[in-house]
């Protein structure tokens, strides 16, 4: 009787020790779920979801503080993938948000006064310029977040929808006429 209790207690101690050691040795530093969610988000950094960037939104989703349908640049596709990752039901964009076609910001070089306000607003440093010098947006790096529009004191920035050209053209989904089989 006494030896049985001793054996069980011994096993318990050993296993507890192993588990305790493993939890320290193999500790996951960051929440991997946040990384996974962040990888799906489009990294526009536009803040339309109400969070200051994609990473904070990812953190909020992971914590359960935010819904998955608040990202217009990610669109329906993004919501679907988030739903798949989190094992929840996909849903249409919420909060009165609308997906927009991919656009880039363009500075009108006749109006720009070189105030650097847009440079400070750009979340991905895609605007080049200096004080009292003309600013230029690097189109290939622009995420189309529109954050540079409100700070401009002379309203010289506008959004241009990215047009389809030979380089970015895609094959369409085949129009597939199926014959009815009676």
């Amino acid at each position: 009787m006494f030896s049985a209790i001793l054996v069980m207690a011994g096993i318990g101690l050993v296993l507890g020790g192993v588990l305790g050691w493993a939890s320290i040795k193999y500790r996951v530093a960051d929440d991997p779920l946040v990384e996974k969610i962040d990888a799906i988000l489009p990294q526009t950094q536009c803040g339309q979801c109400g969070f200051p960037g994609c990473k904070p939104y990812a953190e909020a989703i992971a914590k359960g503080d935010a819904d998955i349908n608040l990202c217009p640049p990610g669109g329906e596709e993004g919501t679907k993938r988030l739903a798949e990752l989190l094992g929840v039901e996909a849903k249409p964009l919420g909060g009165g948000l609308e997906p927009k076609p991919k656009s880039v910001a363009v500075i009108d070089d006749h109006t720009c006064i070189g105030c650097t306000l847009c440079i400070q607003a750009c979340p991905v440093d895609a605007i080049v310029g200096a004080a009292k010098q003309l600013h230029v947006i690097v189109a290939s790096q622009c995420t189309g977040c529109e954050l540079c529009l409100p700070p401009c004191p002379v309203d010289c920035i506008h959004m241009e929808v990215v047009k389809e050209d030979v380089a970015n053209w895609k094959w369409r989904y085949p129009i597939h006429t199926m014959r009815r089989v009676a």
Binding site: D38, L41, P42, Q43, T44, Q45, G53, C54, C122, P123, V124, D125, A126, Q141, T143, E164, D165, V166, A167, N168, W169, K170, W171, R172, Y173, P174, H176, T177, M178, R179, V181
Partner: protein, 539 residues
């Protein structure tokens, strides 16, 4: 001569229709009034424009230079004036417009100076750069800049150079005619390729339905260093990977390049263009194009790049009544041309004018019955019916897992499908969707990195600022410290002086109780005594 040949999986035997265009010699075209030269004629970055509207150009003068690594130059097809640099219809499945240089011919066809290249003496990288500036790109259809492929690399692991003269696609005969008529020139180009790559053996693979081309090349080989091999006629025997397997038995691992298995493949037309560029010094200005199908006088033409398709069809006697559109390339892999004003580019090897008899409307598709005919026909040994399900359902991850990107889009599966399902259309759709996703992904990764760096930079700037401030305060304090000491010393001196002054003043101050007459002193003593008495009684 009895080389062991390997046969790849599947393949089909469509009707060839080769003799429609292969029986007449290559014809030249009259000089046109106008040429439209696109800047995107090769795989990679479009060439960078060098001319402006109003400039005069000579034949062979570069009008656009290679931009970046995967790119090559573009040249004026004739002498004349640039009248516009604008978006024009181009031969592309999208039917979209692309940037073109429009040249109005002056009728003189004056050539720029062409400098032949001393290929044996020239430094290999200098020679490659000359070929890049000569605008050389693969003329088999992929139009990959040739100068990149002619780099043997540091490992020099290349042992086999394969020249592709198989021309397996039905209707097309431009390589056939080129080999028949210019075998010697092709072999001179091959000699340059061999020199540049240091290949141990050179094989020219030609399908056995072209006995004249085989005979012409065999007759032209002088030193026996080049082996002319007749390969069985089976579509797609002329696809790079399939021809490599047929000739060497080596298979490209998925995602690997042919150079990884020691093989480099060029089209015979590219060898001919290389001969012109190196031996004659002439950049790539023209190519052989087959005009066939429902036209009055089908055949092959030496066509200047930039010639509108309409003019080329006119040169072939024009389309016959009942023509139902044009295909760029062959019936298996080509695409419908949207606009006949689109020009011939480096990639266009054939203009096929369709008619209803040869190209009936594709019947409506029936459901897939999983018969497996497509898998038996697939030269890449894929399972097209599975890929079809996944592509149709937009399950791209699964499609990739089933090696969608090993599909060469040869069209065998669509050809044999008893349900007439346009399988290749689905695969092309799936591929371009996946490419776009990957682009978005890399764009997002870049944006994330840039955003994180911006945040890091802001944080760093803030820290630097506060550090600077702290440093300044400390510095000021350090500067103040010696002044303090001085002040203390001064203060001490002052204090001492004041104390001394106090003492002397105390010393010299007269007291009104001193030096008094004895009567007054007595009186004072009496008063004091009274006060003491009073104080004593008070207590």
């Amino acid at each position: 001569m009895n080389r062991k040949l390997y046969s790849f999986n599947g393949g089909i035997h469509p009707e060839g229709h080769k003799d429609v265009s292969s029986t007449t010699a290559i014809r030249s075209m009259p000089l046109l009034a106008r040429y439209v030269v696109p800047l995107r004629q090769h795989i990679g970055t479009p060439a960078r424009i060098l001319v402006r509207a109003g400039d005069t150009v000579l034949r062979g003068q570069p009008i656009a230079a290679a931009e970046g690594y995967v790119s090559t130059a573009v040249h004026a097809p004739t002498s004349g004036r640039v009248i516009a640099v604008e978006a024009r219809p181009v031969p592309h499945p999208s039917g979209l417009y692309d940037l073109c240089v429009v040249i109005e011919s002056d009728g003189l066809d004056q050539a720029a100076e062409f400098l032949p290249m001393d290929w044996k003496a020239l430094d290999p990288s200098a020679l490659r750069n000359r070929l890049r500036d000569a605008g050389l790109a693969g003329l088999g259809g992929a139009v990959f800049p040739s100068y990149i492929k002619l780099n043997p690399g540091a490992a020099r692991s290349l042992d086999t150079l394969i020249l592709n003269g198989a021309e397996c696609e039905p209707w097309i005969t431009c390589d056939d005619r080129l080999m028949r008529e210019r075998a010697g020139e092709i072999l001179q180009g091959v000699a340059v390729m061999r020199h540049m790559l240091g290949a141990r053996q050179v094989l020219i693979g030609i399908e056995d339905n072209k006995p004249e081309a085989l005979a012409a090349l065999r007759a032209a080989v002088v030193d026996g260093e080049v082996e002319i091999v007749a390969v069985p006629t089976v579509y797609p025997g002329g696809a790079g990977k399939q021809l490599t397997y047929t000739l060497t038995g080596r298979e490209n691992p998925a995602g690997a390049r042919s150079t990884d298995i020691g093989v480099q493949v060029f089209n015979v037309g590219t060898a001919h263009a290389l001969y012109r560029a190196v031996i004659l010094g002439e950049p790539l200005l023209s190519r052989i194009v087959t005009v066939t199908g429902h036209v009055a006088r089908p055949g092959n033409f030496e066509v200047r790049l930039g010639t509108p398709v309409r003019d080329l069809i006119d040169a072939a006697g024009g389309a016959l009544a009942g023509a139902s559109g044009e295909v760029v390339g062959g019936p298996m892999m080509g695409f419908d041309l949207e606009d006949r004003s689109a020009p011939i580019t480096k990639a266009v090897n054939c203009i096929l004018v369709k008619d209803r008899a040869h190209f009936p409307e594709r019947p409506p598709a029936l459901p897939c019955i999983r018969c497996g005919a497509c898998a038996r026909a697939c030269p890449a040994r894929l399972q097209p019916f599975e890929l079809y399900w996944f592509s149709r359902a937009k399950d791209f991850g699964k499609a990739q897992a089933y090696d969608l990107f090993d599909c060469i889009e040869c069209g065998c599966c669509s050809f044999v499908c008893p349900s007439h399902i346009p399988l290749v259309d689905f695969f092309r759709f799936a591929k371009s969707e996946i490419w776009e996703r990957e682009q978005h992904k890399s764009g997002a990764d870049q944006a994330r990195a840039r955003h994180e760096f911006k945040e890091f930079r802001l944080e760093r700037e803030k820290q630097e600022k506060s550090e600077k401030l702290a440093a300044k305060v400390a510095e000021n304090r350090a500067k103040d410290a010696p002044a303090d000491l001085q002040a203390q010393a001064k203060h001490a001196i002052l204090q001492a002086a004041m104390e001394r002054a106090m003492k002397t003043r105390e010393g010299i101050a007269p007291r009104n109780t001193e030096h008094l007459p004895p009567a007054v002193e007595q009186e004072i003593a009496a008063i004091e005594a009274r006060r003491h008495a009073a104080e004593a009684t008070d207590h």
